[in-house]
Structures are given as C-alpha cells and as structure tokens.
Amino acid sequence: MRALRRALVALGAAALLAGAIRLRGSGGVPPQTGGWRELTGPDLR
C-alpha cells in the first residue's frame, strides 16, 4: 500500500513538474535592432 502511495505521489509530482516546465517562461527577447519595411518596386524586381 505504501509503495502504491509513493508511486502515486511521485507520478503527481512528475506531472506538476512537467506542466510547470511546459508552461513557464517567455520565449525570449525581441529583436534589438532593425524593423519591417514593405517590399516595394526595387525589392520586387
């Protein structure tokens, strides 16, 4: 019974940890230089 309880607790902890890793944090930082410019005449030749 104790082994089963421990296994369930371990599984629960692993699920929580996996969920936290999957969801936490941001993707990174925005570009520090540059920007978007529409492609116009000379770019489309």
Binding site: G19, R22, L23, G25, S26, G27, G28, V29, P30, P31, Q32, T33, G34, G35, W36, R37, E38, L39, D43, L44, R45
Partner: protein
C-alpha cells in the same frame, strides 16, 4: 477560364471573389456540401458564378480549386481525370503528402497540382523562393505563422499542435513533438512578437523539394500557453467563423559570395483573405501555363521567379515586407529561442 471551386467557406468565398475579378474567367462553378452557402457566395458575385451540385462540375473545367476542409486527394484525382489543373489550399500534413504523391500522374496527364496554395503554406513558399533569390546557396529555411482562417483551418491548427512535427535536418526527416521548440518570432506589425512552436505543419514537405540543397527546413506556428495545454484535447469551444489578422515570417539562410547571410520576409493579412488570393492567382497561373513544370508541388517549387506572383498579390492587396537591420545574427533577425 472555366473554374470549379470546391468549398465555399472563409477561404473559398475569398478565392471565388478573386477568381471573379479575373478578366479571363468565363465560367465559375461553386460547389459546397452546404448548398445554401454556395448560393450565398454566387449571389454576392453574380455572373458567371453559379452553384454546382456535389460531384457534378458541369462542363470540363480548366482548373479545380479545392478550399474544402478535406478529401483533396480524391477530388484532385477526379479533376485530373477530367483534364483539369488542380489548386489545393490544403494545410493538413497528410493531405499535402497525399497530393504530392500525385506528381507522376499529373506529369503524365500534362497537368499541375499546386499543393498548399494558401497563406501558410502558399505565401510562405513564395516568400522563401523570393528570399532565396538573393543567395548563391540556400542552407536553411525556417517558416513561422500566426493566426488561422476559417473554422476548418482552426481545427487543423489545433490538431497540428498536438501532433508530431516533421523537420528536415541534414538530409533526413526528424519527428518532434508538437508544442516543443519554442521560439519568439517577430512578425510584421501589428502582430509583432509571438511564441512559436513545432506542429504538424506541411511546409517542410513542400520546401525541401524546392530547395534540395537545404540542410535545415522547419516550420512553427504561434500558440498561447492555453493552446499548448489543450492541444491534445478536443477543442473546448467551437472555433470562430474567421480568425483575426494573422502573419507569416520566412527566414532563409545561405551563402552569398564568400559569406553567410540571412534574409527575413513576412506578411500580415487575414489568413483566409490571403489564402483565397494565393489560390486564385495560382489557378490563373496554372491555366496560363506560367508555372515552371507540370506535376504536383508547392509554389516554392512551381514558381521559378516569385516576383511577378508577389507583384500580383500586392496589386490585389497582400503586401510582403522585409526585416531590415539583421546581419545574420539570430536575435537581430527577429527570432530567439526560449
């Protein structure tokens, strides 16, 4: 041009409108499983659009445009048997592979099966082709997209995030779990920075034949934390009739002269509008014999010079953009890994 459009949803209605504005169009048959929807589209367009019954396309068409949620392979085979070119806006990985398998049959019949002619894939393939024109050798192509078109597109994207992604790396396919590989991709304004993840996207299947020397080809889609958490569950609520503004971003890396460089192109538009436009112009090009070869392939492969195609899209309202200020550095080029 006699055209049949199968699927009068968000993308199909836009494709029909774009086809209607084509001077050479003489006949447009709109087919949908929901006849009332097809009627609404035809009523809004007027002549020469008319409603067709499912399975009955009328006189032999020059081109069949597929914008329905599924069954593209069977419909494409039927269209080829009737001697028509096929333009498919499919964005499902299995559907795209099945269409590409029609290459031999299409070549034999002297017809084209334009596969993945939508926003992404589709416009992304054209942007990759255009970006690649600046390089002597293309090493890498990385695609990212944000947003969805109609409800069918939203369902496909939901499933894609919970399925296996396929990346091309060093001459082989790598299967990776959807929802992994977070990268912050910087799309043109107003979409801006979005976390993007691997997903079951067909872009690599279309881009690898277009750039056979490329060592890495990947595709990612923007998603929220909730999207990732619920990706493997059924959709919790019905998708919107049409998504909000979306964006695509294509980064091509390669060798130019003696150095390596990166070029990043993108576009913003409602995905259904852009997809309909790309599909309609692809249909026009197929009928006018302006594509590079017969057979099945993506626009990156079938369009040798993307400039006239992009010019036509710009004339119709979808404008591409270039990210400037990057010198090949990953962060300055508008992505960063998390």
């Amino acid at each position: 041009m006699r055209a049949v459009l199968v699927g009068a949803g968000a993308v199909g209605a836009r494709a029909a409108r774009q086809l209607r504005s084509t001077e050479s169009l003489t006949n447009l048959v709109v087919v949908d499983i929901d006849a009332r929807r097809a009627e609404l589209v035809c009523d809004s367009l007027g002549e020469p659009a008319r409603v067709g019954a499912v399975g009955e396309w009328g006189t032999n068409p020059d081109v069949v445009v597929l914008t329905c949620p599924g069954d593209h392979r069977r419909l494409a085979e039927e269209a080829l048997e009737r001697g028509a070119h096929v333009v498919s806006a499919a964005d499902d990985m299995d559907e795209v592979r099945a269409l590409l398998d029609l290459d031999a049959e299409a070549r034999e019949r002297g017809r084209v099966v334009v596969t993945g002619a939508g926003f992404s894939p589709g416009l992304t393939c054209l942007l990759a082709r255009h970006a690649a024109s600046a390089f002597d050798v293309v090493d890498e192509v990385h695609v990212a997209k944000a947003g969805t078109g109609g409800p069918a597109c939203a369902r496909t994207h939901h499933d894609a995030l919970g399925s296996w992604a396929v990346d091309w790396r060093d001459g082989g396919w790598l299967r990776r779990p959807g929802g992994s590989g977070r990268e912050l991709a910087w799309f043109p304004d107003p979409v801006g920075g979005q976390d993007c993840y691997r997903a079951a996207l067909p872009d690599a299947y279309l881009l690898v034949p277009a750039f056979p020397g490329a060592r890495r080809v990947t595709a990612r889609m923007a998603a929220t934390r909730r999207d990732r958490l619920t990706a493997r569950l059924p959709m919790l609520r019905p998708p919107h009739p049409e998504g909000v503004i979306g964006a695509v971003r294509v980064e091509v890396r390669g060798q130019r002269g003696s150095g390596r460089d990166a070029r990043v192109l993108g576009a913003v538009e409602r995905p259904a509008i852009a997809a309909g436009m790309v599909a309609a112009v692809a249909a026009l090009w197929a009928v006018d014999d302006r594509l590079a070869r017969r057979g099945a392939g993506g626009l990156g492969e079938l369009v040798e010079d993307a400039v006239p195609f992009l010019q036509e899209l710009a004339r119709r309202g979808v404008r591409a953009a270039v990210f400037e200020g990057a010198n090949g550095d990953v962060r300055s080029a508008g992505t960063s890994t998390g």
